[in-house]
Symmetry: C2
Subunit: 292 residues, 2 copies
């Protein structure tokens, strides 16, 4: 079968054998936003030469801006629920293929607000196929980081922190970015200083201005500023984590490395999982749905 | 004399009589960023026909990106200190004029970080010329909001919240802005909902995502989203205010109106001051320096 991870700004295709092992992998920047209405063409191009009949897709491709909207599934939701809510793509030009889309999840948080995810539920299904059905806490860093509480194999609740997007916004478009060397290498000392400072009293809105004011006084160099800012934001995100004896991290190794550094500093025990949890999750969901 | 309020993105000129009353007022968008190196020309154009010999300027015009850098003055700083640190512009093309620049202030906050202001110190000098030298707490909303503690006529300490800039960033450049009607009129109910939600547990990074998720579920309309976001951000800023029996607000009436709404909701007593505090402040400083 073919597993597709189709996000806002990236597209990944995995060719899986009968056991769910990855035989081949392709990546492109044809994310949902870049493809707009030409999803058929982008997918055909991506899987050229792979003749498998079954395709299962996960991520923003199932959103309102995607190929076909698949409603968010309400939490708590387990493997059976997610597999049961998978939806077959009704109209497409890929003859001899059956295409399914995995639903996203929604929850109402403790403050009474909606929250949503698309794609992360599949990564978690992949991760728990190795970890079992205990009570687990996940962190999936990214543009919109997700903190996910699992209870006995079901996604009980989750919340989103706009950490990655905020970093991009501040570096590219704010006054803070103007003094920065944006392409400077990671500066661990500055990063950890930011992680520590996030624990100080005060709101993020006031913490942020230290980047500029310390910069003006030469207390934070232009090349240290992006790392300090990253540490400050990740530190603020981690302030919202419930207490845990083990946090399960899922994401790309480059991003995960920064979270590992921050978690070590905070003495929060963690276990990192690789990024191909999506392919495994899609295989598990396809099997559960009886498609294999 | 002529009082000039020269900020990053705006320029205001006030012609004052001997008592400091405003005889004439001009505004332009020739802020420090727009003028770059042609400050002489911009100022000449602005004061055409006003033949007063004394010009005193305040704001970002004294920053590193301005006409001539005037070092930040260390807090605590009172009227005498600020007047004493005023610096005469050494080289300019405006013959028969004497031009002075008011210094900005700097402090080290409770977390050990630098903070800076330029222009707000002049507004405060203007405001306390009416209020006297008590222990006062000021809030000057804006791109970078300032909370300023005065003790016996001196600026004791202050801190900056990036409230206004964050609102702009999120509306114009973030995923949140994509679902919004950015030109919708102010929606008080949504605004106050944001002010209340800012008191809930959790970090700003997680609170923000509710704008999108509630929007996706039709719980927050596209036209209510900017007001909700504004309330959320102003609410977070107000979370950092020390307790007070009277907050003194200084700023433009449009912006102040939102803060008044939020402060009423939080039952924080306040007193609003008009926006021409800068002209009065410059007059007071010029007199204190013996220039009048």
């Amino acid at each position: 079968m073919i597993a597709i991870d189709w996000g806002t700004s990236s597209l990944r295709a995995y060719r899986l054998n009968g056991d769910g092992a990855i035989c081949d992998l392709r990546r492109s920047t044809n994310g949902v936003l870049a493809c707009a209405q030409s999803f058929d063409t982008a997918l055909l191009e991506m899987i050229e030469g792979w003749d498998d009949a079954l395709i299962v897709m996960s991520g923003m491709i199932g959103s309102r801006q995607g190929w076909q909207e698949v409603p968010y599934l309400e939490c708590p939701a387990g493997l059976d629920d997610i597999a049961g809510a998978m939806t077959q793509l009704s109209a497409h030009m890929l003859t001899k293929r059956t295409i399914w889309i995995v639903p996203g999840l929604t929850t109402i948080n403790a403050r009474g607000h909606r929250d949503v995810m698309r794609g992360e539920e599949t990564q978690i299904v992949g991760a728990i196929s190795n970890l079992g059905n205990g009570n687990l806490l996940f962190c999936l860093p990214g543009t919109h980081s997700k903190h996910v509480e699992m209870r006995e194999g079901r996604v009980e609740s989750f919340q989103t922190a706009m950490t990655g997007e905020m970093f991009e916004l501040l570096c590219k478009h704010s006054l803070l970015g103007r003094l920065m060397h944006l392409d400077a290498p990671h500066d661990s000392a500055a990063f950890l200083c930011g992680v520590d400072d996030a624990l100080e009293p005060g709101d993020l809105l006031t913490h942020l201005f230290a980047v500029r004011a310390n910069g003006l006084f030469g207390l934070l160099s232009a090349s240290a500023q992006p790392s300090y800012l990253s540490g400050l934001l990740i530190g603020h995100e981690l302030n919202d984590l419930p207490p845990t004896d083990r946090l399960h991290l899922i994401g790309s190794s480059a991003l995960i490395a920064h979270y590992e550094e921050a978690l070590d500093r905070r003495r929060i025990p963690f276990e990192a999982h690789d990024d191909v949890a999506t392919a495994r999750g899609i295989h598990v969901l396809a099997a559960c749905r009886g498609l294999l």
